[in-house]
Amino acid sequence: MTVDEPAVTPRQRRPLRLAEVFLLLLALAGGIGGYAMVGTSIRGELPDSFWGSSALLAATALVAHIVLRLRAPWSDQVILPAVVLLNGIGLSMIWRLEISGSPGMAPADAVGNMTASLLGASVAFTLLWLLRDHRWLRRYTYIFMLVGLLLVSLPLIPGLGQQINGARIWITIGGFSLQPAEFAKIALAVFFAGYLVVNRDTLALAGPKVLGLHLPRLRDLGPIMLVWGVSLVILVFQRDLGTSLLFFGLFVAMLYQATARSSWILLGMTLFALGAFSAAQLFPHVGARIDVWLHPLDAEQYDREVGGSFQLVQGMFSMANGGLFGTGWGEGRPFQIPYAYSDFIYAALGEELGLTGLAAVLLSYLLIVQRGFKAALTVRDGFGKLLAAGLAFVMALQIFVVVGGITRIIPLTGLTLPFMAQGGSSLLANWIVIALLLRISDSARRPSDLPVRGQVGAAEREPVLVGGTSADDGTPVAGTPSAGGTPPPPPDGGTPAAGNRLPRRSLTERESSGTTGASGSSDPTEYIDPSTPEAPRGGDRP
């Protein structure tokens, strides 16, 4: 996770983003190649709309690239190609299932999903174009809370909500089905980030100690508990364990990131495990899921008409048939898995692309997620750090819950794989997540107004970021020699190489040092700049 290049090098030239161009070409080759192979394998010829669809996909990637060049030129160059690759492969698989002729695959709709992908990308890059600074979102922290709660509760409204496969997580508006929880996770991530960045210190330090456990004051925790409690209560009524797990994980992860209180994590996980256990005892359908998870191959589970392990086992058969290298596009029988185009697209890909293909898919996801974390580490404002890490984590968690459910790490839930599974809400929401991550990564790498030590004019610009308080969250900057003062010039006269190291380290770490100057959450030695031996230790302010 270390960043080798200096983050605040005042580069004058905008990056050409050639790496992104090259990776995009590879990604398009992967997706379009899959599309072509499906056609030639199943129908013996290229798909009818091959050139048109491919051109559309390439054009979308090109437009996205141009938008990034113009509006977020310093943003991460790997995220977009990885998303384009995953989206392209997912579309190829959906189309492959659609033309299989299997009655169960009738709902597979590659054109519809392509439209949703294009719409998602359009919305995402329009957002990227309009949203010049992610910190703008912070102004509406509590609005996002309300929006998140509203979205989560929408499916419970009679007439609007729809129960599909036992879970009430859908709404229908004008003929369109939406999964509001997908959007709620973004709204709640924004709310958690905005709320925690202000209150993390009071949360972490101002509470009483009970049994050696540091508890926050209730009034500090109130709004968060409200959101968490309400969303969980609603989700119990909506009967969707996956979404519930997703929100809970998002909440715990962001709380931990903000406060560094790992004891709370343990407490939270214990509470969730208890809740899950009692749910398994109380609700027969949850208990049945656990049985299916533990003993899917038992005849009793396999033959059960409703809620049995048929789908899970068909997915396992499918993946086993794929083996190490897969059957090849269009050569397997993934359409035998119920919902292969949505919930089980991972298993379907496993059959035709093999273990190697799935490893590539997982690594592409991992790239996106870790690039999100990298943006969180390098961005300068606390809100951005929390938001980027929260969004990256929630995406990783979603992938874990879906793939873990299919490969039997955890019980199966009703979530979908981002960018691959069929479903407009998921595509749209995850494209928006990508837009936000790209925006934050741009601001993380953009040469800022931050004065580099020893540069002329540093003093005038100081209040913006370096001086005593940072512009965005009011956190005094520890690790700088003295707030409001001009840093002493380094002995070597402030060459960029030497001078850059101090601000970068101090900036990336200053968020965790806290208002009170307590250095409990970070190691003070990190603030010592080897090039400036006379620099005092961090946390010297009252």
Binding site: L386, E509, S512
Partner: protein, 486 residues
């Protein structure tokens, strides 16, 4: 917050590592056992997804795979499903396979060892694998004649070519339409299968080869053969033919059909006894020949053995000695525990027709691969000599007597000498109408076809009035005529 963000990133790494491990587990370590799981339909899908070879009768496909636009790509279709069902069997997603479809699956599916060159060719040219065509020995005219003549009666007809053992006709009724089972609509196929397998008529059973029945008087051919082979008798030997015969060790007397006496004098020639199917004469003859001789002769014709024609047949039964003399007497007239398939009875006639040598019955003439090259051909092979040529000649003469002036006149064909033997077998408690039989061959001097007809429960007559001569002989005649008129 960077330290905690790094920790979260590490947690994510661990999560993804877990996913890689679990995926590897399924796709690599557990793959073999999952692939071999009987519930994994992929093997079946692979079979059903190939262009399976046709089953051919007289140049026409009676079973063929037709390209369809569904997930299976090919639909198995049976042109005259019911007519050929006992031979073709079915090829079903739900209920598996039977008949030729099962027995010749390796060739039909194209996976037989002999087809390695074809598979190599397909691999090199990139063309889809294609199954081989299985050509049957069946004579379509004889098959149709047997089907028509049997009508709505429950029973079976088998016709053989005596010199080769080729099966010329095989009909079993009631039967089924294999198309109903081959449909890809699994619910429909399942319903059809349940209805067929639960039916009291047992339409899925091939009555010609897999059901065994008391052969009744047709077994007298075997008893007569044993007598002639013993050297103590000829066709003209005079044997006792009393009105009733009480075997040693029992009080229950054996009577003749209708309680009549076989001859006023109480004795007659062996030929006459066969001609009018005299029970008391053959029962007594059997006792004097003994259980060992009868079993030996029965086994020489193929009893107590099952055959692959190429699907397996039930073994006909002659019980092991020692047998109580009372039961030796009833066994000698094809009752008690003696059981035979219609195929076995046809083999008895065919053996006599073929100068005493029984040929191995078979229904597959040859197999042609996708290039129409013959990859497999069935050569006629003998099971062994059942009786000497001289015995066979005498038996033939005796059987001609049956058709010309005995119990089997219903099988007469104008201008052709027909040899035959009727049978009317009691079964169950004895109160049900008997199973009626006829077996024979024609022309007697140059046998082209041997046939066995069995009609359950007296057929359309359906009372104790039914006899092999009245019910079964005309069916046999129709089949023999169809072969001879070719």
């Amino acid at each position: 917050m960077n330290k905690t963000a790094r920790r979260l990133a590490s947690i994510v790494m661990v999560m993804f590592l877990a996913l890689l491990v679990s995926t590897t587990w399924i796709q690599f370590f557990a793959a073999e056992s999952l692939n071999n799981d009987p519930r994994n339909a992929r093997t079946l899908y692979e079979q059903f997804g190939t262009d399976r070879g046709p089953i051919v009768v007289g140049g026409e496909a009676v079973a063929d795979s037709v390209p369809v636009d569904d997930e299976w790509n090919y639909q198995r279709e049976y042109a005259q499903g019911r007519l050929y069902a006992p031979l073709t069997g079915y090829y079903s997603l739900v209920s598996g396979t039977s008949g030729i479809e099962r027995a010749e699956n390796d060739f039909l599916a194209g996976s037989a060892d002999a087809l390695w060159a074809d598979r190599l060719q397909n691999l090199l040219t990139g063309s889809d694998p294609q199954g081989s065509a299985v050509e049957l020995t069946v004579n379509p005219a004889a098959q149709q004649a047997a089907w028509d003549a049997l009508g709505d009666q429950r029973g079976a007809v088998v016709a053989l070519e005596p010199s080769t053992g080729r099966i010329l006709a095989m009909v079993s009724k009631p039967t089924f339409d294999p198309n109903e089972l081959a449909t890809h609509d699994t619910k429909q196929a399942n319903d059809a299968y349940l209805a067929l397998s639960n039916s009291d008529d047992k339409p899925l059973n091939n009555r010609a080869t897999s059901e065994i029945y008391p052969p009744g008087s047709t077994f007298k051919l075997v008893t007569a053969a044993a007598a002639l082979e013993s050297g103590d008798y000829t066709a003209e030997s005079v044997v006792d033919a009393p009105e009733t015969y009480t075997p040693p060790g029992t009080n229950s007397a054996i009577r003749n059909y209708g309680g009549t006496s076989c001859s006023p004098s109480g004795e007659q020639t062996l030929a006459d006894a066969l001609r009018i199917s005299c029970n008391t004469a053959f029962a007594q003859l059997g006792v004097s020949l003994g259980d060992e001789a009868l079993q030996e002769q029965a086994e020489a014709f193929g009893f107590n053995e099952s055959f692959a024609v190429p699907f397996g047949t039930a073994a006909s039964v002659f019980p092991d000695p020692p047998i109580d003399p009372a039961f030796v007497a009833t066994s000698a007239i094809g009752q008690w525990d003696v059981r035979a398939t219609p195929l076995q009875i046809a083999m008895v006639s065919a053996g006599i027709a073929n100068d005493g040598e029984v040929m191995e019955p078979h229904s597959v003439a040859r197999v042609r691969d996708q290039n129409l090259d013959v990859v497999s051909e069935t050569r006629p092979s003998g099971l062994g000599r059942a009786v000497s040529a001289d015995t066979a000649q005498q038996l033939t003469e005796m059987m001609i007597g049956v058709v010309e002036g005995g119990s089997g006149t219903g099988a007469q064909i104008s201008g052709v000498t027909v040899a035959g033997k009727t049978g009317t077998a009691q079964h169950g408690t004895g109160s049900e109408p008997p199973h009626v039989w006829f077996t024979g061959f024609a022309p007697a001097d140059d046998p082209q076809v041997a046939v066995a007809v069995m009609v359950e429960d007296g057929g359309s007559i359906g009372t104790s009035e039914a006899t092999g001569g009245r019910v079964a002989a005309p069916i046999a005649r129709a089949v023999m005529e169809a072969v001879l008129n070719e």
